[in-house]
């Protein structure tokens, strides 16, 4: 029944839209009707592209003429575990080039798992007059020369964040490229750089930038220098120390303590490379201020660790090595009632025997004691269904749960049963669970639970689990909000994939490696679903045409796209299309 729309001039509607920022809401607006689509696209300022191959830069530039901020993601998540070969793709260059000519007023670029060259960095530094934010997360392909261009030319730079990127370190002198007149820096993260940076240049930079709030140094900055640097940036909120080691010198210790205290806004600490146990207590005076503590690089045991953690009563986020052990986590549960995120990393993941007393009990204590706990990443060597059920009942507000039992296919250590019931309880009780990683011995049953209860689940990671296609089928047919699924070493095959082909167009991507999917199925899928790119990664250099249909695919990456086949596939990636694999070079 057609009704007359409320009369509304475009400028007024645009003004209303200016108060709406989330990507989801902006996307919803653009799908309401033709006029809203038009108005929305002209006033969109910020865009997030979760898969850089889902759409082409030309299309984005054409549709959104006034962007100021763009975020792009490239390689699949499993690239972090070395499952994606070198030169797979994720090149930022075409995007940078397209934006350089289209968006002279672009302010922010955020890239994750992409390949970026020095030329692109130089182009960025020269094309955008008001460039302010550059975040390169797990990126690669560039060197400190590119960074030098950014430092030299971006007069209004506020944020330069290189988190976990691989940078070819040609020299530490790029920092000196910031002109003397440069004052706008608010956040600097160079923690991933390998070689020394000029401390002089750092000191000069810090002196010139009074608004600096976040500073993450790299390992090469020694502890003694840290004191000076802290003296120059009293407004720091976040600090990543360099190497946290030195011969025990009482001066250094007390200077350091004093320097920490001097930064009255300091709330977040990270770094602590090679932390010498006896320097940890230098943090005690400010422990009650801390809301975030990352000790995952403090790879030596310390008798002061537990005490430190218990003193941080306002801690919201803790990343720590498993040296904290069950007893430390119990202490954490007693002291840190505001804890929201816990990550426990393994100190000896390849050892056959446990080297620390960290079991499922630690996690259970935290789940009991910390009512705000929402996000968990936990590496351990044993787990039980009972523990998981308890955790689930304790923390129904959990949104991210990633459990990594180090040995694949390990059953409940008490009953020797699969951990289906335990993870089932997690998805059943945690109704807002958005991200889940499974481990341990699991049958198809756990996937049935996930499909039934995991209605808000957006990302699922599976390894060495399941018995048959039913497992995959449950997930694909049941998880309404599933966006990313990554699977390795599971007996999932053609049937479930083909029966749920339509589902794949509602997801961002699917990764399957070492499963039971055949070439024939991939070709069929590619043929029937033109809006998916079905990419097969093979070890041999020959075309998949020569492979028999029933031959199994080693690595498969399927993602929805409106940009068609990608033009930059390396020799080992083939897009499946009909009766022959397509190669577009």
């Amino acid at each position: 029944m057609p009704r007359i729309a409320y009369a509304f001039p475009d400028e007024v509607l645009e003004h209303v839209f200016s108060f709406i920022h989330s990507d989801q809401d902006r996307n919803a607006i653009s799908l309401v009707c033709k006029s809203w689509y038009e108005i929305e696209r002209w006033c969109r300022r910020s865009i997030f592209v979760g898969n850089c191959y889902a759409v082409s830069p030309v299309m984005v530039v054409k549709r959104f003429p006034k962007l100021r901020s763009i975020s792009l993601k490239g390689k699949p998540h499993f690239a972090d575990f070395n499952l994606v070969p070198e030169d797979w793709g994720g090149y930022a260059c075409p995007w940078i080039e397209a934006m350089a000519s289209a968006y002279p007023w672009l302010e922010e670029i955020r890239l994750k798992r992409m390949v970026l060259t020095d030329e692109s960095l130089e182009l960025i530094s020269k094309s955008f007059k008001n460039f302010q934010v550059l975040v390169l997360s797990s990126c690669e392909g560039f060197s400190t020369d590119g960074l030098a261009a950014i430092a030299a030319n971006c007069r209004n730079l506020r944020e330069l964040d290189l988190r976990e990127s691989e940078v070819e370190d040609l020299s530490g002198h790029w920092l000196s490229q910031f002109p003397d007149s440069f004052t706008s820096l608010v956040s600097l993260n160079i923690s991933c750089l390998g070689s020394e940076v000029s401390t002089c240049a750092l000191e000069r930079l810090l002196a010139g930038c009074p608004n600096l709030q976040s500073l993450r140094l790299n390992r090469a900055v020694p502890l003694e220098k840290l004191v000076n640097l802290l003296g120059r940036s009293p407004n720091l909120v976040e600090l990543g120390t360099g190497a946290y080691t030195s011969e025990m010198q009482p001066d250094v210790f007390s200077d350091l303590s004093r320097a920490f205290v001097g930064c009255k806004q300091l709330k977040s600490l990270s770094g602590f490379w090679d932390a010498m146990p006896y320097y940890l207590p230098a943090v005690y005076p400010i422990s009650s201020r801390l809301t975030s503590l990352n000790l995952s690089y403090a790879t030596t045991e310390s008798p002061y660790l537990v005490k430190l953690v218990s003193e941080c009563r306002n801690l919201q986020r803790l990343w720590v090595m498993d040296y904290i052990e069950d007893s430390g986590l119990e202490a954490l549960a007693v002291s840190c009632k505001d804890l929201r995120e816990l990550r426990v990393f393994p100190s000896d993941p390849f050892g056959l025997e446990p080297n620390v007393a960290l079991t499922e009990r630690g996690l259970v204590s935290v789940s009991e004691g910390c009512p705000e706990l929402q996000s968990v990443l936990y590496f351990c060597r044993q787990m039980s269904n009972a523990a998981l059920v308890t955790i689930a009942r304790n923390r129904p507000n959990m949104t991210r749960f990633r459990l990594c039992i180090i040995e694949p296919r390990k059953p409940d250590y008490l009953t020797l049963q699969p951990l289906d019931a335990g993870f089932g309880a997690i998805v059943e009780h945690c109704k807002n669970l958005r991200r889940l990683s499974l481990s341990g011995l699991l049958t198809d049953r756990v996937f049935e639970y996930i499909g039934s209860y995991g209605k808000k689940l957006e990302m699922l990671s599976v390894a060495f689990a399941g018995d048959s296609d039913l497992g995959l089928h449950y997930v694909l047919s049941g998880c309404d909000n599933l966006r990313k699924l990554e699977v390795r070493d599971c007996p999932f095959g053609d049937k479930a994939l083909l029966a749920n082909a339509a589902k794949l167009e509602t997801m961002r991507s699917l990764w399957m490696s070492s499963c039971n999917v055949s070439f024939g199925a991939c070709k069929l899928l590619g043929q029937k679903m033109p809006r998916l790119n079905v990419e097969v990664i093979i070890d041999e250099r020959g075309p998949p045409d020569s492979m028999p249909e029933s031959c199994l695919v080693e690595k498969l990456y399927i993602y929805r796209t409106v940009a068609g086949p990608r033009m930059d596939m390396p020799g080992f990636v083939w897009r499946m299309e009909g009766d022959s694999a397509l190669r577009v070079s």
Binding site: P2, R3, I4, A5, Y6, A7, F8, P9, E11, V12, H15, V16, F17, S18, F19, I20, S22, D25, N27, A28, I29, S30, L31, V32, C33, K34, W36, Y37, M59, V60, K62, R63, D444, E448, D467, S468, D469, L470, H473, S477, P491, G493, D494, K495, L498, A499, N500, A501, A502, N516, S518, G520, A521, Q527, K528, M529, R531, E549, S550, V562
Partner: protein, 358 residues
């Protein structure tokens, strides 16, 4: 006192001005309140209008009497001196509570009167209404037409050109290309037809059934079992109509023709697109034997019971989508039956005549 004087100066010594709304009606409003609106203020100061009935200030078209009343309430409150920020905030929060239609009118009216604070207030309120809603819900709330095509909705990023002629042309070209491709392939496909396994759904169903206690699972014996199960399944009354027509229909045609037909239908009516996708998932065959992971060994009875239940469940779930899909498949199935197995160049024409018969 003269009438004119009385009209302007009331006993309380407040001064009033005359305004006229778009419907022609005239009213007097307190001057200091009305002048809070920049548009009225400007008009009054620049042209001197508003001092009498005959020279009333004409309000913009978007301002009707009821809405103007609301705006005056807002102005009356905010122009009064001595209000604290907290008081203003509380007033605003209460003021904003009204239905969406009125809120839209108010925003629009405030904008035409250039009353920025009220525009911001109402715009924020509208933004809050929009946030968190699906496109459909937003359309409901604002009574907006659903005029994006299915194609545009599914591929919002692709809709680059707004020219409908270009879009139509693209579609026609795509269709033509596909037709030519089909005709080409049909010539080559006769031999392959035999190998086509159209029992994709059946395949799944029989796989499910074969999980049930088939402990001596070798490939060949499974095949035999599959065939047997299929007949059993067809005998099942609940599925008899759907399965039979489905099987007959699909068996009559090589899969590439499915594609051709499916695509043609989808071109014709893009609202069927989603259903076409479902069709695609059901109709394309798994040409491959399902490879069991050898997990049927020595099931104990309890486990077996569990598996039976799972299997039933799976089958039920698979069947539950069918009524909708079946409509499509049935109608297409009828067309397909028209196409002979021995293919000739006229195949495609017959497909089109089949469409007509629907």
């Amino acid at each position: 006192m003269s009438e004119a004087a009385m009209a302007v100066v009331k006993p309380e010594m407040k001064s009033y001005i005359w305004v006229q709304t778009v419907d022609g009606s005239l009213q007097q409003v307190e001057e200091e309140v009305a002048m809070f609106c920049p548009m009225i203020c400007q008009e009054r100061l620049q042209t001197g209008m508003g001092s009498s009935k005959n020279y009333a200030i004409s309000l913009p078209q978007r301002v009707n009497p009821a809405i103007f009343g609301l705006i005056l309430d807002y102005c009356r409150f905010h122009q009064a001196p001595g209000r604290s920020n907290k008081e203003r905030k509380t007033f605003d929060e209460k003021f904003i509570r009204m239905d969406t239609k009125k809120l839209c009118e108010l925003t629009s009216a405030a904008d035409s009167l250039q009353l920025k604070p009220l525009v911001d207030l109402t715009s924020r309120a509208l933004a809050r209404i929009i946030e968190g809603k699906t496109p459909e819900e937003i359309r409901e709330a604002f009574h907006l037409p659903d005029d994006l095509t299915e194609e545009e909705k599914l591929e919002p990023l692709r809709n680059m050109t707004d020219d409908p002629r270009i879009r139509l042309l693209n579609r026609l070209y795509a269709r033509k290309r596909k037709e030519l491709k089909e005709r080409q392939k049909l010539k080559n496909v006769v031999v392959e037809e035999e190998r086509v396994d159209d029992r994709s759904v059946d395949d799944l169903l029989s796989f499910i059934n074969s999980v049930d206690g088939d402990t001596k699972g070798t490939k060949t014996s499974k095949n035999k079992k599959k065939n047997r199960r299929r007949k059993d399944h067809i005998k099942d009354p609940s599925s008899i109509n759907t399965n039979e027509n489905f099987n007959k229909g699909l068996n009559a045609l090589p899969p590439l023709c499915h594609n051709g037909v499916a695509n043609n239908v989808s071109e014709a009516s893009t609202s069927n697109h989603l259903r076409m996708q479902n069709l695609a998932t059901v109709s394309f065959s798994s040409k491959h034997e399902f490879v069991d992971g050898g997990d049927d060994d020595d099931l104990d009875p309890a486990m077996k019971e569990e598996l039976d239940r799972e299997v039933e469940d799976f089958a039920r779930r698979l069947n539950s989508d069918w009524p909708e899909r079946m409509q499509e498949i049935l109608s297409l199935g009828q067309e397909r039956r028209l196409v002979p197995i021995s293919v000739n160049g006229n195949c495609s024409t017959q497909i089109y005549t089949g469409l007509d018969r629907r």
